[in-house]
Symmetry: C2
Subunit: 237 residues, 2 copies
């Protein structure tokens, strides 16, 4: 059984916080399936811990899970991509705070072949352990570029590319013109798209509700992203 130094245990544990992930440029994945995806991904694996080698007790000291998995990897983060308009269909997330939502959105972007994901600086970190887990491996195929969203919207518009946004009072997405290229902005769980970002949106969309009588007031942001992106792709396939 390999004995880890307490400094080493501390350094892995520290990667649970964004501050240390940013300083070290590293993040953690746990679980056999996720680590297998990491190994195939081309991401640089800095450390690999196996329960068989270090034992149950040390494993539970470095793990962020309630029941630690048999394997944990410390991985070098991807290089950030530039926050500029590009050809293709892109997503921009305005203050998405819930890790499960961001991970699910990365998985959706992966499935639907979205060309890139941007997010406001106050969106949850893509290397947060819960985001990584919910992404089901999409973290190795999609990078989130954190940036100033109003400036990003302007760079799309200056490149002649449309900027879409979803609003509760937008116009029915099924009747709207949707191009195969541009930027789709999704708002936060609680407040939707902020005023500053909304002022830079060309086309305000909404997913219609078919509820009769009193019904849901909104959709979960990951769910709304999926329905929106699916419609863009269906129309432009």
């Amino acid at each position: 059984m390999v004995k880890l130094t307490s400094a080493e245990i501390k350094s892995v544990k520290a990667l649970g916080s964004k501050k240390f992930r940013d300083i070290e440029g590293l993040f953690v994945v746990e679980g056999e399936k996720m680590v297998a995806e990491a190994l195939e991904s081309g991401f640089k694996i800095e450390k690999l811990y196996r329960r068989d080698e270090i034992g149950e007790q040390q494993m539970s000291r470095i793990s962020s899970l309630d029941s630690p998995s048999p394997v944990l990897a410390v991985i070098r983060k991807a290089e950030p991509k530039p926050a500029v308009a590009g050809k293709g269909l892109f997503l921009a997330l305005d203050s998405v705070r819930d890790p499960g939502n961001l991970g699910t959105i990365m998985r959706i972007a992966d499935w639907f072949g979205i060309d890139g994901i941007f997010a406001s600086q106050d969106t949850v970190d893509q290397y947060n352990p819960k985001v990584v887990q919910a992404s089901m491996g999409a973290v190795f195929r999609k990078t989130v570029t954190y940036c100033d969203l109003p400036a990003l919207c302007r760079s799309f518009r200056e490149a002649g590319l449309p900027v879409y946004g979803t609003f509760l009072d937008g116009s029915d997405i099924y009747g709207a013109e949707l191009k195969g290229e541009g930027l789709i902005v999704m708002g936060s769980e609680s407040f939707g798209i902020s005023k500053e970002v909304g002022a830079n949106v060309d086309s305000r969309l909404k997913i219609p509700s078919y509820s009769v009588g009193p019904g849901a007031e909104s959709l979960n942001v990951a769910v709304a992203t999926a329905v929106t992106v699916a419609e863009f792709k269906r129309r432009n396939a």
Copy 2:
């Protein structure tokens, strides 16, 4: 400050388990927004606990949340509905185990005006506190009917109503015939639709992936439900 008896505290806490919810016919909701929805819903409120009345300490003893909210209600469950085919568009969930997914699906069904939700007996309980929370109030507008899914599928087919299912090897939903009435079966997070249920599906659908190169292997079940239901509603609106 009202002092609760330890028996009363125990009886509220017990509703965290399905066994006791079934015995008592009660469930718990927490939070100001959820309790407000409960009050407007017509559901019978058996008990209402406010932090102002019973104090922070007693509140944290009856709450299932990490940081207890100012208000908690004990509510009588809805009467179960019969597990038979009906006119309209219905969902059937085959072994959906994650509470967040079921709650999100209830919210989706609410938004898209789904006429009823059925689920296999091993699907997570609709009155599980995490389901209730994720449903964002849909628990007061949509009831899940737990039943034998193969028999339910047969009852739809015998009534001349189509049974749809989503499969990774189904045919493209955007090219398939989708009627405004029938049953849409969604499979479990890990295993999709079971063999027994799948044998009773008339039309096998899939949501196409637009990923180029290696991509996501699947979509989250709540996300897949939303994309599927949105397409049925768009087509038949």
